[in-house]
Each structure stands twice: as C-alpha cells, then as structure tokens.
C-alpha cells in the first residue's frame, strides 16, 4: 500500500456554484417614502441609489427624505396614534403583529434575497438567521400586546406616542423588527429611518404592512442619509428616539435630545471579548471564535473581536483557528455555500483597511486567509492578528469587519481585567467546561450580554443591549417593552 499524502487540504471537494436566484427579490426600479400607508415621492423628488456591495451595481433608487418629509411622517404617525392606534385594543394590535409575523414567514425567501443583495451578507445567514429571527420578533411581541399589565411595569402601562427609530446597515430587516415590534405592541406609532446603504428590505416590509392591513400611518418609513436621521432626532413631535449604530453618532444624538422630553435608548458599538479557558471543548471553541468574528463579515456590534485565550492553550487554539479561517468560503453572497460575504460599503472597507494597517504598524502578527477575492465589489479577506497588546488600536477600536485580535491571559482575574479594559460593554463570550468559573467570570464582566460556550446567539425572548459606551436600554424580552412604555 502506498503511503498516503502527508497533508489533507480541507474543503477539497470544490463545491460548484449554487447561487440563489436574484429575480426572487422582485425589486422595483425606484422606491418612494412610506408615508401614511402609501409610497410617495420625497417632496424634492430627490433619489439616491442603493448598491449591491458584491457587484457595485445599483439595485434600485430610493427617495431621499428631507426635514419636511420627516415632518410629514411624524404628522402621519401622530394622527394614526391619536385617531386609531391608541384606541385599538391590545388584542387587536396583537393580531396585526401576528399577521405581520406570518407574512414575513410567507415572503421569507424574497426578503432573504433582498437582504443579501442590498447588504452583501451570505444568503445562508439572511435565510437562516436574519429573516426567521425578524418573524420571531414580531411573533413574540405580538403576544405581549394584550399582556402589558403582566410585563412587570405596573398595572396600567401606557405607550409613549410617536417613536423615531434609526437603524444600522448590518442587519437591516432584523433591526427594523427589533425596533418596530415592541413599539407597536406597546401601542406606539413609528417613524423608521433605515440606513443609507441598506433601505430595501424595510421597503418590502412596508409592503407587508400594507398586505397586513395595518392602519395607515402606524408605521412610516423615511429613507435617506444622516440629514434625514438628524431631522427625525430633532423633530419636536417625536416622543422617543431609539437608535442603533456607532457610539460617535449615539453620543451626538444624546446631546441633541438632552433637555427635551424625548425618551432615548441607544444600542452602540462594542469590542467584545471572547474568553477561552484551557479546559474548554476545543473544536467547539474554534467554531465559536469563527461565529463570533466572521458572522456577517464581522459587521456585528457584539462581535467577539478580541480573543482572550489562556496562555497554556494559546498556540493550539491559534493553530486550529488559522486552519479553520483558511477554510472559510469567501465570495458571492448569493451562493448558498458562502460563509463570508461582501463588506457593506466602500467607506466601511476603507475603515477596516486603515485599522488593519494600524495592526501591522503597531507590531501585531498578521495572518490573512489565502482565499481568492472577486474583482468587483468590496471585499476583505478574513484576518487574524496574533501577539496583540492591550494598548494596540486593534485591541481598543471597533473595526466592524472580519478582523480578530488575539491576546492571552494567565488567570481568571486577568481575563476579567483585560476583558473589562474597554470603554465598551456590549457582549462577551466565556468558554470553559467548568460552570462555576463561567458564572464567576460572567458576574464580573461589564457587558450587557454574556454567552457561555456559544457566541452571537439571539432570541426575541432574550434582552440585548450594552453598558457604558455601548449604550443603554434593552431590546428583546420583557425588558424590551420598557423602551416603549411610559413607565
């Protein structure tokens, strides 16, 4: 018998392209604003293009809402609140939300395709994570609409009124669901402002609201850029602002609403520590690290972007991690076998490149997957920096891309100290087979969410949100209602 080869390349069975069909998206060439139940052009008729980041082609043009368009949206939301929604019983609101949840399930494939085209995330993720979770959020909060008196916020919880909601580009549909479902369940009406680079799935959602017979004006959607968001934040007719995005913008919004009666919740950036102890189940650890940082191209505010690994197993973890990273399938987001898709925009790609360059400049050891990248579109190969120090920029700044910084620790105390040495506090991971130590560490981590032996798990019943400069307020769970109740 001949001696077998001494290396065995992984993923050697080359998968033929298995692309999802873009025609399922049914996109219109252009979209208006969704005001008072109807699609209407912006007052100025201004439009901007939404690109497919994997090809740099225009998918559709979308209305650019000015301050006066935002005003129309707020007026519409106020009218719907006063005339209809505040007089609709919880049980009836519940049934609207159940309908919406069902329609999302029924149009799930279309929504997944739209999301992947517009955002660049792999179709596997939009199909298996974003869309099902969005439906689940509506389903969960539907159930709360007629049970608010049992939610623990007193006997007669009341809605706030009109909620202005500004969402990011990393999970466009899911973030819309996280914002709208609890707000509507609690009895508010909404003005939603999708991100500039990813407005399309929210507009499909608007069609779903029409299909569900949701009363006009209960949800209004104003597409646009930063000026649109600013107009919404500043509008005096808005009772509440909910924002998900960067800490820098969150800080600006907090300043602008300070002194007004507006309620505010912020879900901002993060620099999550993923802490691996020597007794952790190593194969699952590797998968967890990969899920933590390469899920959604690392465009995740709670990404496990800092790997803290116990020194005694650091070499072994790094060796296995690099083997696994090299195996990630990077490329066409519409291919069902793609693991890592396109970077959402040219601007974001530039930021990732800049911070990665800092990593090299400051002396960290860079490993970049040898995967081939497409010519057109925005791409960044999965990258791991080893030998990172706490003081390096790549250990402190949120990169929001597929870049992992690896640091080591010796004792649980040191792991906690390093994990907490950050202005952020959104999420952390802890990997160990020893439950009591996991809980000891979890108790000491300053983070809103702590995953043990898993990472990047989301569920409508589970509250999500940060501490310190990662923001305040919770989305999901019973706690998520508080953001939209006058309590």
């Amino acid at each position: 018998m001949t001696e077998p080869s001494h290396t065995s390349p992984l993923g050697a069975l080359a998968y033929d392209a298995a692309p999802e069909s873009a025609s399922i998206a049914h996109l219109a060439p252009s979209y208006g604003l969704f005001l008072d139940g109807q699609f209407t052009p912006a007052g100025s008729h201004a439009q901007f293009a939404s690109l497919n980041p994997a090809t740099e082609e225009t998918l559709a043009t979308v209305a650019l809402a000015s301050a006066s368009d935002v005003d129309r949206a707020v007026v519409s939301a106020r009218r719907a609140y006063e005339r209809v929604w505040s007089k609709t019983t919880g049980a009836e609101r519940a049934k609207y939300l159940f309908r919406i949840a069902r329609l999302i399930q029924e149009r799930s494939r279309e929504l997944a395709v739209v999301e992947t085209l517009d955002n660049g995330k792999p179709i596997r993720e939009s199909r298996d994570v974003d869309v099902p979770l969005a439906a689940a959020h509506f389903f969960y909060y539907a159930g709360w609409a007629d049970k608010l008196e049992h939610s623990g916020f007193g006997p007669h919880p009341r809605p706030l009124g009109v909620a202005g909601q500004i969402i990011p580009w990393n999970f466009p549909l899911l973030m819309a669901a996280w914002k709208l479902a609890p707000a509507l369940a609690a009895g508010n009406t909404c003005v939603l402002k999708p991100a500039e680079t990813t407005p399309l799935s929210a507009l499909v959602l608007a069609e779903i609201f029409q299909q569900a017979g949701l009363p006009d004006g209960v949800v209004n959607i104003v597409t646009g850029d930063g000026t649109t968001g600013a107009a919404l934040v500043d509008h005096p007719g808005v009772d509440k602002i909910a924002f998900t995005g960067s800490t820098a913008v969150g800080r600006m919004i907090q300043e602008r609403v300070a002194g007004s009666a507006k309620r505010l919740t912020l879900e901002l950036g993060g620099k999550g520590a993923n802490i691996v102890f020597e007794d952790a189940p190593i194969d699952e650890v590797i998968e967890g690290i990969v899920d933590g940082i390469f899920f959604n191209q690392g465009h995740v505010c709670c990404a496990g972007s800092r790997l803290l690994v116990q020194e005694s197993v650091a070499d072994e973890v790094l060796r296995r991690l690099l083997r696994r990273v090299d195996q990630l399938r990077v490329g066409d987001p519409m291919d069902k076998n793609t693991d890592v898709g396109a970077i959402n925009s040219a601007a974001q790609l530039e930021r990732i490149r800049e911070l990665a360059a800092w990593g090299e400049r400051e002396g960290a050891t860079r490993y970049t997957s040898a995967c081939a990248l497409p010519d057109k579109g925005y791409w960044f190969a999965p990258t791991v920096f080893a030998d990172v120090a706490q003081s390096h920029r790549i250990a402190r700044d949120e990169i929001f891309g597929p870049v992992l910084s690896v640091l080591t620790f010796r004792t649980p105390d040191e792991a906690v100290a390093k994990a907490n040495n950050s202005k952020y506090g959104l999420a952390c991971g802890v990997w160990s087979e020893k439950g009591s130590r996991t809980l000891w560490v979890a108790q000491r981590l300053r983070a809103g969410v702590i995953w043990a032996n898993t990472y990047n798990k989301f569920d409508p019943t589970s509250p999500f949100g940060g501490v310190r400069e990662s923001g305040f307020g919770r989305e999901g769970g019973r706690q998520g209602l508080e953001a939209y109740l006058d309590v």
């Binding site: 065995s8 993923g11 050697a12 990273v325």
Partner: protein
Amino acid sequence: MAPLRTIEARDRGVLVPARISVPTFADGGELRRFVYALGGVDAVGVQGRVATLGTRSLKRATKTAAIDLAISMVDLTTLEGADTPGRVSSLCAKAMRPDPRDPSVPSAAAVCVYPDLVAHARHVLGDSSVAVASVATAFPSGRASLDVKLLDVRDALAAGADEIDMVIDRGAFLAGRWSQVFDEIAAVKATCGAVHLKVILETGELVTYDNVKRASWLAMLAGADFIKTSTGKVGVNATLPVALVMLEAARDFAEQTGRLVGVKVAGGVRTTKDALKYLVVVNETTGATWMTSQYFRFGASSLLNDLLMQRLTQRTGAYVRPDEFSGD
C-alpha cells in the same frame, strides 16, 4: 510596513507527520489520564456545526462526483438471522455491478456479512475489487469471553475475510474498565494482522459525545484501522454529530501520531441527501485524504439504490421510479 503574511499553503488542512508514533501506556491509569486530557465535547456546538454544514448545497458536477464517491464507499450489508447463500450471492452481484446497464457506476467497497457466510461471499466475489467484510467478536452485543471473540475472528479470517468489523464491550466501557476495552481491541488487531480492523463503538449505547470521543481515541490507540459508529441493531444508529466527533478524533489522532484511521458510519443512512451531508462533514473536517473508500465508508443496504436513483436523475433530469433498480 511589515510584509503581509498569509497562511502558508503547507500549513493548511490536516498535517500528518511522516513518522508514525502512537503513544503507549504503562497502565490503565495512564491511558485514562491521556484520554481525559483530550477534553470534552460541547453538544450544542457539535449539533450547531453539523446543522450549518447540512446547508451546503452540492450542485452539478460536484453532486455527480459526490454520488459516485458515495457509491464506492458503501459496505453493502446484510446481517440478518435469515441470511442465506442466495441472498449473499445477489448482494455480491449488486456490489460488483450496482447498475448492470451502466458500467460507469463504480462498485461498492465491500459486502458485510456474518462469519459463516464469508466463504460464500469470497467465492462469489472472486478477484473483484469488492472486499469481504465480516462482523465478528460476538456481534452485535459483544457478550462473550475474549477467547470466544478471537475464535470468531479467526473463523472469519480463515474463511477469507478482508476486513473484520468488531464490537467493543460497551458494558466494560460504561463501567470504566477502559483498559479491558483497549486490551480486547489490541488482541483482535494482533489476530487480524494486516487485515483491516474496524472497531464498532455502538455510539447509540455510549450516548454522550464525550463518550464517543473517548471511545474513538481508545480504539485508535489500541490499533483500529477504522472506527465505526454502530451495529445497526440498536435504537440509535449513525448520526451526523457523532460522525463529526469521530472525524475530529481521527483528524487529531493523525496529526498527533501520523497514523490515518478511517471512519465508517453504519445504520440509518438511507438517502443520497443524507450521504452527501456526511461527505460534506468529512470534506470540511478531515479533508481530501479521507474522501476515499480507504478512509470513509457507509455501512448500509438501502442507501445504494437511492444513490443509483439520484445518479440517474442527475443524468436524465427526471425522477426515477424505485423499481428501476434491483431490490437487493
């Protein structure tokens, strides 16, 4: 600016040292400490990983190639009290020429029978490439003395078996008598000599992934050429998460010792869809070296016909009726 480093091509995938060096143990305690030090398995993580791999979509040429590969990995199995020479003859014919009308269909890897039918199978198969595998060691329960088990193995070898599928003593394993399990496997391997030894862990009775990982290592350290999931005779047979744990063990064992051990999934794999999922798990866990019948097998009976049906569908674009293929 520092030069941009990429992962070197030679560092990719599974690295197998050229020199084989399998650790030996002074006593059972040392063996136990070694296996425990390998660490545990997180059940949720394993199930999540196979769920993701299960979404891989094999299309066109990849699918065609994978179906043929799967056919070549089948150990066509009959292990019934009612087995007769006639039944084994038709099984052998099927293994050699799965589709008599199409010579491009590869033959199966082996037929798998009880020891008393080995001679007959050997005779029918002649000098074809299809091997004769025989279950032995008081299959399926393993409840006999070591002497009886070894006699069972010698019988099968004398009748011309190319491969022996033994069962471990699950009672001894679950009672913590690991060195007994180890010694039995080593004794059977010594009896087998160059004949390939597959060690059946009966993972449905071991229940936990931790146990599957430990039993896999125990078997490989004791000399197994293959580790195999199941007898097909208990409630739970091969599952994807169990296969993943065993493949990870085989990969890590190869990286540590330089010795390549195969994995056989048996029982419960009935459809092409299932078989392709297993191949994806092999592909992305142990890699190309294991993507051959030398290192991966399906112990199955009805799977082969489904593979043939899907193979034809790939070529004609139309779904095929089951009666298109012989019922063996």
